[in-house]
């Protein structure tokens, strides 16, 4: 089981790198969907198989792998653009920085004094790396869709961290977190839809009407 979990986590890290390197919206959404699937599978292998874990896994897949891409595709359908051409940080540089983040995540995790039952796992560095990737996507991309994906990946990273080190988190809270993510993506998709209609592009750096004029 341990090996299987590590393979899932490895796939997750891979998807992070692919996300850092892609400019096409459809590919990004597919990758994020794949991450959602991986996240849904993780608790099934990581924890004992109870009704609780199964429900959580189903919920995660429903929210992160089914609802999420649908909402984003819906929001994108009026937009003519298919890819992000000029991010603030280029794709090659993003990949290099990704490698640096990965190294830092491993170094940082090795220095943490974690509870015994999470210490040897690959999950903690993988979660830090995923969160860092999300945060980086969020600040280095211009297009609203990629920023939403950044938020989503950040949330994924934190979710895995919670899964690894806080196994006894109450069911209600996990469901609540999941519900919040669902509504967040829904509301963001709604706003994204309006950004496309209003600006005819989703380059959020063009949202700059509001500032202190003096």
């Amino acid at each position: 089981m341990r090996d299987l979990v590590d393979i899932l986590l490895l796939l997750l890290v891979l998807s992070d790198f692919l996300l850092l390197g892609t400019s096409f919206f459809r590919t990004s959404i597919k990758l994020a969907t794949a991450q959602g699937l991986l996240l849904g599978l993780l608790p099934l292998f990581d924890h004992e198989l109870t009704a609780r874990t199964v429900v959580l896994a189903l919920g995660t897949v429903a929210v992160k792998a089914l609802a999420f891409p649908r909402i984003l595709h819906y929001a994108l359908r009026e937009s003519g653009e298919r890819r992000e051409r000029e991010p603030f940080v280029g794709y090659a540089l993003s990949l290099v920085l990704g490698a640096v983040f990965l190294g830092l995540s491993f170094w940082f995790s090795s220095r943490l004094s974690l509870p015994a039952d999470a210490g040897d796992s690959f999950a903690v560095p993988a979660s830090f790396f995923t969160a860092a990737t999300g945060l980086f996507l969020f600040i280095s991309r211009r297009q609203a869709l990629h920023q939403i994906l950044g938020y989503f990946v950040l949330e994924n990273g934190i979710y895995i961290f919670g899964l690894a080190v806080v196994p006894d988190e109450p069911f209600l809270v996990e469901v609540g977190v999941l519900l919040d993510v669902l509504v967040a993506v829904f509301v963001m998709g709604f706003v994204l839809f309006h950004i496309h209609r209003h600006l005819e592009t989703a380059d959020v750096s063009q949202l700059s009407q509001l500032r202190e004029d003096r």
Binding site: P170, A184, H198, S208
Partner: protein, 484 residues
Amino acid sequence: MILLCLLAPLLAGLLCLRVRDDRSRRRLAVGASGLSLLAAASQLPLLFSDGPSALAQVGWGWLRLDPAGLWTLLVCQAVSLLATLYATGYLVRSARDEVDLEMEASRLSRTPEALFSACFLFLQAAMALVCLAHHLGLLWVAVEATTLASAPLVFHHRDGKALEATWKYLVVCSTGLAIALLGTFFVAVAAHGHSSLDLEALLRAAKVLNKPWLTAGFLLLVVGYGTKLGLAPLHGWLPDAYGEAPSPASAVLSGGLSACSFLALVRAVELVHAAGLAPMAGDVLRLLGLVSLLTAAVFLFGQKDVKRLLAWSSVEQGGLLVFALGVGAPAAAFLQLAAQGFAKTAGFLAASNLIRSHVTPNVSGIRGSLRSRPISARLWLGAILALSGMVPFGTFAAEFLTAQAGLAAGNWISLSVWGLLLLLIFATTLQAVLPMLFGEPLIPWRHEPLWSVLPGIAALLLCALTILLPPFLGPQLSGWFAFP
């Protein structure tokens, strides 16, 4: 009984999406707000009961009511009710104006009004959940829910500016809160093997929690919930969101929602205090408070937009709140919380009247309002004076108590910077506000309808009444506070 605070707005909000008739929808909103305020008020004895750790169990396991939660809940509910009353007239006016302007627009505006009322109520329910949550995980869920419920309120006007404000609000606050979630997990690691994330269990086990993890968790929680409170340098979304939201929504965002964010922050501070990390927490909070005051002072200088003026004042108030907590005066912080919440409500409602009558959001477009709109202008002046900490408003007492506690704790340097910045902010604010009141009026005098002024007057009266509270702010609100 207290569960009504949660359920009444939630159910009414769901109903609002269904009800087609505008009038009955507005009545429903007012009724639900009033009911939840009554439910909260019925728990008042909790604030005055003896013993430092009064706690009322509410139905479910993690929903509990402690004095701090009740205090915040009362402020939120009162602000929400006043804003809802104002919104009733505001929405009637908006609907009518749009009929006059453009038939198309009035037809389109139907759905947004239902969505506006529903989200207003959802926001109230989420705020009540924040006040009741005694589990750090549930607390996070509730705070995130407030963000999501309020985003459509900011988007109400549906133009480019509203879009930009909503986008910033959503992504900055959501990302900030993601960091708070990480902080929550860090606290869970710190408590591993000792306690769950249940607040009372954590407080009991505080002494044995893993200190480095707890410190890191606390810092992340401060960053996360501080973003929501609008502390500089995490305030980027705030002036835009408050400036672009319809005024009743701005009033609730700044009066009620910021109070909830502050309460979430207080929970984290409570925990590190119990764990004996008070000096570290105090340093962090004082520093953040002063940075917020400084930022507000800079941006208030020569501010041209009326609502942004109030928004920057919110950054200032957030700074004052955490500073009071940082010098070890939680009672002062809670007093400030109530007083500034009411003052900002009065401010936003009065500003809304002035903006609508002058048809401009600019400070320079409003002149001589004391003669053209005497009541709103006086309300506006009163609110600004209250926010500046003048007598006879509760903010004066709160700032006095803060200074007293700061002197007692020997925080000379930070306290003098604090005082200096307050003076600076007072001067710059008055410089912007006074020309709005005096001089030749730009518009003719007209009778001001009751709905537009009564909620503001009530808010300002409440703000004045809070100055009488200090003798009653006994150990109930500050009992948890262990002085370093």
